[in-house]
C-alpha cells in the first residue's frame, strides 16, 4: 500500500493540529446544543400556560397526556376524538371572551384536545373545506384557512377516515400542476401502498429533529469546508508541495490518503453531528414517535414511510451531500494556486447561494430538480411529489440524488488528485 495508512494518519494529524479544528468543533457543538435546547425553550407547551413550571416539565406533562392514546388511528379512536371535541365546543364554560373574541381555555384544551391532538390535527387537515395550504417540506403542511374541520364532523365520519385520508392525498397530487401524468400515476401508486390504519404516538423528538435538521446539515457543510479547505492548498501555502511532489509516494499514495481522509472527515462530520443531534432530541423529548406514519404529520405526503424511516432516508441524504461537499472542497483546495482563503469563499458562496434560489416545479421541472443536487438543498427534509424522469423512466429523487452524488464524489476525487499531481510550482 506504499505507506497509505501512515500517510492517512499524518493527514488526520495535520487537520487536528490546525487552529481551525478546535474552533470548528466548538462552533459545531454550540450549534448542536443550541438547536436541541432552543427547541425546548422556544417551544410552546399547553401545561406551561398559567403554571409555574419549567418548559421541560410542561413538555413531559403534555407528552404524558398525548401518550394516553398512542396506537393505531382506528375508527374507534377517530370517533372518540370527534366526540371529545364535540363535548368541548358544546360547553361555553370552556371558553373565555375578551375584546378580541372567544378563546378556548387552556385547561379545556388539555382535557379534550390534547389526548387526541395528533388525530384532531389530522382531521382538521383531511377535512378542510378549501385547500389553502402552505407546504415547505414533508413535515410542514400548514393550513392557511381558519376553518376547524373537526368542529363540523359527526361520529359517523370515523368509519370512512382511512379512505378519506387517501382521497385527500390523491387530491393533493392532482392539485400539483407541475406534475406529469407519469408522476401523478407514480404518486397514486405510492398512496395506495400506505398502510392504514395510521399509527399515532407522541413524536416531539422526531419533530424537533426534523425542524432543526436543515440548519444542522448546513452546519455540517460549513464544518467540512473549514476542515478540508486546506487539505491541498495548505501544501501550496506552506510551500511543502515542492518536497512532497518529488517524493516516491507524493503523487500516488499521498493523494489517495488525502482523499480518503477528506471522505472520512466528511462522513464522520455528518454522522456525528446529525447522529448526536438526533440522539439529543430524542433524549430530551423521548424516543417515542419512530413508528408514526409521515401522513399523521402531513396527510398530503405520498410516501408510505414512518418518521423513523423518513429520518433515516434524510440522514443518508445528509451523509451523501456531506461526502460530496467534502470531495468538492478537496477538488477546490487542489485547484487553487496558492492560498486557502479562496476555497473558503467559493465553498461558502456555493453553499449559500442555492439556498435562496427557488424555482417552482410548474415553471421549470428541470431547474427544480437540478437545484436539489446542490448539497445545501439535498439536505432538506423533502419528500415532495416530483420524480426525476429520464428517457421515460421515473426515479425517486432521493435515490437518484444518492446515485448521482456517488458518481460526483468519484469525479471530484479524481480531479482533486489530478490537479494536485499536476500542480506546477
Amino acid at each position: 500500500m506504499n505507506n497509505f495508512w501512515t500517510l492517512a494518519g499524518y493527514e488526520f494529524k495535520k487537520i487536528f493540529r490546525r487552529k481551525t479544528f478546535p474552533a470548528a468543533i466548538i462552533i459545531c457543538l454550540g450549534i448542536m446544543a443550541a438547536a436541541v435546547f432552543s427547541s425546548l425553550s422556544g417551544g410552546s407547551f399547553h401545561h406551561s400556560v398559567g403554571n409555574d413550571i419549567s418548559k421541560y416539565e410542561a413538555m413531559e406533562l403534555d407528552k404524558a397526556v398525548i401518550l394516553t392514546n398512542r396506537g393505531y388511528i382506528t375508527p374507534q379512536l377517530v370517533y372518540r376524538a370527534i366526540l371529545s371535541n364535540r363535548e368541548m365546543i358544546s360547553d361555553e364554560e370552556n371558553y373565555f371572551v375578551n375584546e378580541y373574541g372567544s378563546h378556548l381555555k387552556e385547561d379545556a384544551y388539555i382535557r379534550y384536545i390534547l389526548p387526541y391532538e395528533p388525530v384532531i390535527e389530522l382531521l382538521n387537515k383531511v377535512y378542510a373545506e378549501n385547500m389553502d395550504w402552505l407546504s415547505m417540506d414533508a413535515l410542514s403542511l400548514v393550513y392557511l384557512g381558519e376553518d376547524k374541520a373537526v368542529d363540523r364532523l359527526g361520529p359517523e365520519q370515523a368509519e370512512s377516515f382511512d379512505a378519506d385520508l387517501r382521497d385527500f392525498a390523491r387530491a393533493m397530487v392532482f392539485r400539483d400542476k407541475g406534475l406529469s401524468a407519469a408522476e401523478r400515476e407514480k404518486n397514486l401508486e405510492l398512496i395506495d401502498s400506505i398502510e392504514t390504519p395510521l399509527y399515532s404516538d407522541y413524536y416531539g423528538g422526531y419533530e424537533a429533529y426534523i425542524m432543526g435538521s436543515k440548519s444542522l446539515a448546513i452546519t455540517v457543510l460549513f464544518m467540512i469546508l473549514l476542515l478540508l479547505s486546506p487539505l491541498f492548498s495548505n501544501e501550496y501555502e506552506e510551500k511543502t508541495d515542492q518536497v512532497i511532489l518529488c517524493t516516491k509516494n507524493g503523487k500516488g499514495s499521498l493523494c489517495r490518503a488525502k482523499l480518503f481522509v477528506a471522505l472520512v472527515v466528511s462522513l464522520l462530520s455528518a454522522v456525528l453531528v446529525m447522529g448526536l443531534s438526533w440522539l439529543g432530541f430524542l433524549m430530551l423529548y423521548g424516543f417515542q414517535g419512530g413508528r408514526v406514519n409521515i401522513q399523521v404529520v402531513n396527510p398530503g405526503c405520498s410516501y408510505p414511510f414512518t418518521l423513523l424511516e423518513a429520518c433515516c432516508i434524510h440522514f443518508i441524504s445528509v451523509v451523501f451531500a456531506s461526502v460530496l461537499f467534502g470531495a468538492f472542497t478537496a477538488f477546490m483546495s487542489a485547484r487553487v494556486k496558492r492560498s486557502t482563503a479562496p476555497v473558503v469563499v467559493m465553498g461558502t458562496l456555493l453553499t449559500i447561494i442555492p439556498m435562496f434560489i427557488w424555482i417552482p416545479l410548474k415553471s421549470s421541472g428541470f431547474m427544480y430538480e437540478l437545484l436539489k443536487f446542490f448539497p445545501v438543498n439535498s439536505v432538506t427534509f423533502d419528500f415532495d411529489r416530483s420524480f426525476i424522469e429520464i428517457f421515460g423512466v421515473l426515479f425517486t429523487p432521493y435515490k437518484f440524488i444518492w446515485a448521482v452524488s456517488a458518481i460526483l464524489i468519484a469525479v471530484f476525487s479524481y480531479f482533486a488528485s489530478h490537479c494536485f499531481k499536476r500542480h506546477q510550482l
Binding site: 494529524k13 506552506e238 515542492q242 518536497v243 512532497i244 518529488c246 517524493t247 509516494n249
Partner: protein, 289 residues
C-alpha cells in the same frame, strides 16, 4: 549513473526561463552558478519533476522524470523549504520517510542517524515553529538524505547556516558526491569552488560554461590583476576595466580587475578564481564584456 537533460526549455508566457539546456551528469558534485533570474531554480525544479519543461526531456538512468522510480532515487532541498510548524522535527522526518516509501523501522533508524548528523537530536521532539532559520535548513538537508538518494538536488543548502556549519555541510556534500550525483545551486561561490568537481554557469536561461574550475576560469586566466593606488586613480580605472573587487586600504584603494590588454603601471597579475569569473560575468563588470 547518469542524469540526462536533453534540450530542456521552459517558457513563462513570453519569457524564456531556461533555453535549450543539455547536460549529462555522472557521480560527483555539480555546482550551478548564476545570477538571480538566470533560470537555475527553474532548471532544478524541472530536474525534480515539480515543473514541467516546455520542451525537451529529463531522465535518470533511463527513468523518465515523471516515473515513481525516478522520484524514489531523488532527494531535493528547495530554496524556500516548506515545513509544518506544528510538527516536531522527528514527526516531520517520519512523515517524509513515509512519503519516500521507507518502512517504519528504517524510518526510525534513518531519522535518528540524520538528526544526529545535522545536530538536531536534542530538539528532535520540539515543534519546528520554534526552530531558527539555520535549524530549519539543517532539517531540510536531513530530509533529503532519508532515502539515500542517488540524485541529490540542493537549492541554496547552506543559506542561513553559520560559517562553521557551512563548512561542515560543505564537507558532507563533498562526501556525498562520491557515490551519487549532487546538483548544488548556490550564490555562495566559495562553496562551489571548494566542493564542486564540475561547475555549471547559467546566464539568461542558457548554460554559459560547464567544466572543472580549471576549465571554466580559462576565460579570464592571466587577465586578472590587482593593484594598490590612489583613490582618484582607482576611479579612473573603474571606467576602463571590469572591476572585480574594490577595497579601501587606509588612504589608498586595492583594486582587482580584468584586463584584456596591457595592464596599468603597478598592476600585478594574480591567479584567477571562480569568484573572479562570477563577478566578471554577473556584476557591473559585465558592462565591459
Amino acid at each position: 549513473m547518469e542524469l540526462t537533460v536533453d534540450r530542456v526549455s521552459k517558457l513563462y508566457k513570453n519569457k524564456i526561463a531556461v533555453d535549450r539546456v543539455s547536460l549529462r551528469l555522472h557521480e560527483g558534485v555539480y555546482g550551478l552558478l548564476g545570477e538571480n533570474g538566470a533560470g537555475k531554480t527553474s532548471l532544478i525544479r524541472m530536474v525534480c519533476g515539480v515543473l514541467k519543461p516546455s520542451s525537451g526531456s529529463i531522465s535518470f538512468d533511463g527513468l523518465d522524470v515523471g516515473d515513481e522510480e525516478y522520484r524514489a532515487a531523488l532527494g531535493y532541498l528547495p530554496q524556500d523549504f516548506g515545513y509544518y510548524p506544528e510538527f516536531s522535527a522527528q514527526d516531520f522526518m517520519y512523515y517524509m520517510a513515509s512519503l519516500k516509501g521507507l518502512t517504519k523501522p528504517v524510518a526510525r533508524a534513518k531519522t535518528r542517524e540524520l538528526l544526529e548528523l545535522v545536530s538536531l537530536s536534542d530538539v528532535a521532539k520540539k515543534k519546528i515553529r520554534t526552530f531558527s532559520g539555520g535549524m530549519k535548513q539543517r532539517l531540510g538537508i536531513a530530509q533529503t538524505l532519508l532515502n539515500d538518494p542517488k540524485l541529490l538536488v540542493l537549492d541554496e543548502p547552506t543559506a542561513g547556516l553559520d560559517p562553521k556549519e557551512r563548512i561542515r555541510f560543505r564537507n558532507l556534500i563533498a562526501r556525498l558526491g562520491q557515490n551519487r550525483i549532487v546538483l548544488l545551486s548556490t550564490h555562495i561561490v566559495s562553496d562551489v569552488e571548494h566542493i564542486a568537481g564540475t561547475i555549471l554557469l547559467m546566464k539568461k536561461g542558457k548554460m554559459l560554461h560547464q567544466g572543472s574550475l580549471e576549465d571554466i576560469t580559462q576565460v579570464i586566466r592571466g587577465k586578472v590583476y590587482q593593484c594598490l593606488m590612489e583613490n582618484h586613480e582607482a576611479q579612473e580605472l573603474t571606467r576602463l576595466y571590469p572591476i572585480i573587487n574594490y577595497r579601501s586600504q587606509g588612504e589608498k584603494v586595492l583594486l582587482r580587475f580584468v584586463c584584456q590588454g596591457d595592464p596599468p603601471a603597478g598592476a600585478v597579475k594574480v591567479t584567477a578564481g571562480l569568484e573572479d569569473l562570477y563577478l566578471y560575468y554577473f556584476s557591473e563588470a559585465e558592462g565591459h564584456e
